[in-house]
Symmetry: C2
Subunit: 376 residues, 2 copies
């Protein structure tokens, strides 16, 4: 293998593949990046127990300035290799596999010779059936991930809850996540519908996926197999394992009738919650209290050692019965951040029943649920 290539372009590809590489792996070859050069171009692969990423750079990609002198493959220790490339003196560098998997990296007057690993020992990525593919814009997938991914459980006590549940049926894609204290569910219409599916993707994989996309406007093809999912764009294959087991039926958790409803602008409510949570974070119980009457809505935060805060909230509209309810402000902050700069309606049943948040704009099927904290 011998290749001359633009350093910046190569670094970009390498950073993407490196998202899947962990220095903590117990399998030495997985600390490496697999480099494969064919007549079509260059592909880099990184992998760990949960995800694998394969990037592809076509030989005629202009910014890459690729000169392919000899095709071939090698595995190089990823972190160290990246540091070398980053510090090379010129815009271009040459990568050449010598004997015994040694690799020469040259740029200007700098000549590195580093030890590589046999590419035949690198594990094969799964082969995925590409017939049953859902195609959606990257932008839409990224949005669903940011709207639900934050609500997955961080605890391995119920592993299935560490993933986001995706259900494709009836030309709709539903994504839902819950850590049993709060829930976030988003439904989007899907054109050119494919076979129905019902899978749970690890939250961490989705976060890395979201960060790996480079172009929000292109389409991503989603292919599913028994225990793997592949997200495919023109320049990247992103594989994730699926979580095994049955996801709980979250549909029955979402209430349908309420006694108090109030509309807020999300940014205004969010900054008031952030102020109130300053004090609740210092206390033993991280809770804030919301008091709603027909003509006044007030939030209270309190920490016996430090002090207290109260703030009369501005709101758009309130209907129904007066209510006092306490909740963990961090769940509320996460929920509000997922909505962005819109108006939401918050619907309550009673101080001890979960309450919901939805966009005022009823065209958007997006609902969040937060369980309150009983204070007496």
């Amino acid at each position: 293998m011998k290749l001359t290539i633009n350093r910046t372009t190569f670094m970009n590809e390498l950073s993407t593949a490196q998202r899947a590489i962990s220095s903590k792996t117990t399998i030495p070859i997985l600390t490496g990046v697999k480099i494969v050069l064919t007549d079509e171009g260059l592909s880099l692969t990184g992998s760990n127990a949960d995800i694998s990423i394969e990037t592809f750079l076509a030989k005629d990609d202009k910014k890459a300035q690729m000169l392919i002198e000899k095709t071939g493959a090698i595995v190089l220790q990823s972190r160290f290799f990246g540091e070398i490339i980053r510090k090379l003196p010129e815009d271009l560098f040459t990568l050449e596999v010598l004997e015994n998997n040694q690799v020469a990296i040259t740029s200007g007057a700098a000549e590195f010779v580093v030890n590589g690993l046999d590419p035949d020992n690198y594990p094969h990525l799964p082969i995925i059936d590409e017939n049953n593919q859902l195609k959606i814009p990257v932008r839409v997938l990224n949005k669903i991930i940011s709207e639900t991914g934050f609500a997955v459980s961080m605890h391995e006590s119920r592993p299935i809850l560490t993933g986001v549940h995706f259900i494709q049926s009836n030309s709709e894609l539903l994504a839902v996540a819950t850590d049993s204290h709060r829930l976030s569910q988003r439904v989007i219409p899907v054109e050119n519908a494919v076979e129905d599916f019902d899978i749970v993707i690890p939250g961490k994989s989705l976060l890395e996926l979201s960060r790996s996309f480079k172009d929000e406007e292109e389409l991503v093809e989603i292919s599913i197999m028994e225990n793997q999912v592949l997200f495919k764009t023109k320049t990247m294959y992103f594989y994730s394992r699926l979580l095994e087991g049955k996801y709980p039926d979250t549909n029955r958790l979402i209430p349908s009738s309420f006694n108090t409803e109030i509309e807020f602008s999300v940014p205004a409510l969010l900054s008031a919650i952030e102020r109130a949570s300053l004090l609740s974070h210092e206390g033993r119980n991280n809770i804030v209290k919301l008091a709603i009457t027909a003509d006044e809505v007030t939030i209270y935060g309190n920490s016996p050692e430090i002090g207290n805060v109260q703030e009369e909230l501005t709101y758009q509209k309130v209907t129904g019965e007066p209510l006092e309810i306490s909740f963990n402000p961090d769940y509320m902050k996460d929920a509000l951040k997922a909505f962005g700069g819109i108006d939401v309606v918050v619907k309550f049943i009673s101080p001890i029943r979960p309450f919901t948040l939805e966009p005022v704009d009823s065209d958007i099927s997006f609902i969040q649920l937060i369980t309150p904290v009983r204070t007496n």
Copy 2:
């Protein structure tokens, strides 16, 4: 005490005072910031065992938009107070001391009430004799600190070496630091000379001092007492303790005759050293080798497990005997960074004797010394 003030301006003052406040202190009141409001303006004080910072904001400072309704003083828990101010909803806020050292912080609809501490229990700052003051521009002081501060020792085994040695005599100010492996010494001429002094200021204090200045063009007045130094600008008093003990005589360490001399552009040499150190960092001994002949200068880095690097260096001029010398590249990197984008001359005696680096421009009295590593 009752004061209304611009939030951003106040936050700036608070951040400066907070540089001296440690949450790890064993004296509870020192986790607080002392706030004193007089008819002249507002002062904030933070303090720890090593440094104390007192900032001053004049009442007629326009950007502060100060409205002084009642003078007074209070101590507030610094970190928490800062978080509250940062999250307040409006540009202005009001601070009012209520009964029992309780303090109301209001801005827009948000009303915080927090517990303060009695300002009479806050320790007094040292009173420093202001007759014997050295005045230099902040810019000059900052430069001396960045040129020498990095070379102080990080180990408490010889506490005196954790400071920078400042000697004022004969209209010159000399600053020198060494950790016994390398040394950096800078001398600047001083006008309107004051009484001679000879003090050692902790390196950490100098780093905080450097970060606390806001205007590089103003003058700083330096006053010295037996165990304290005060750096005074119009808006800040910065106190540091001095290190006790006798600083070693570093003058005798600096050689005066050499056998090999070579001139480099600092940026070119620095990037080559950084590349070579990539490999040396992975090895057991963190060393790189420089080989100098009459017509070629090459640097080598090596790590048995990973590989090796060699690079022919570009240089301006070489004179004297051929030489091979090994050294810790990190000391070289620090030294070169302190010079900035200039040309330097590196002067060697032999592979086992310390070598020096100086600006080619001999008007600048700045010398660095690095001890090589014996490799056989």
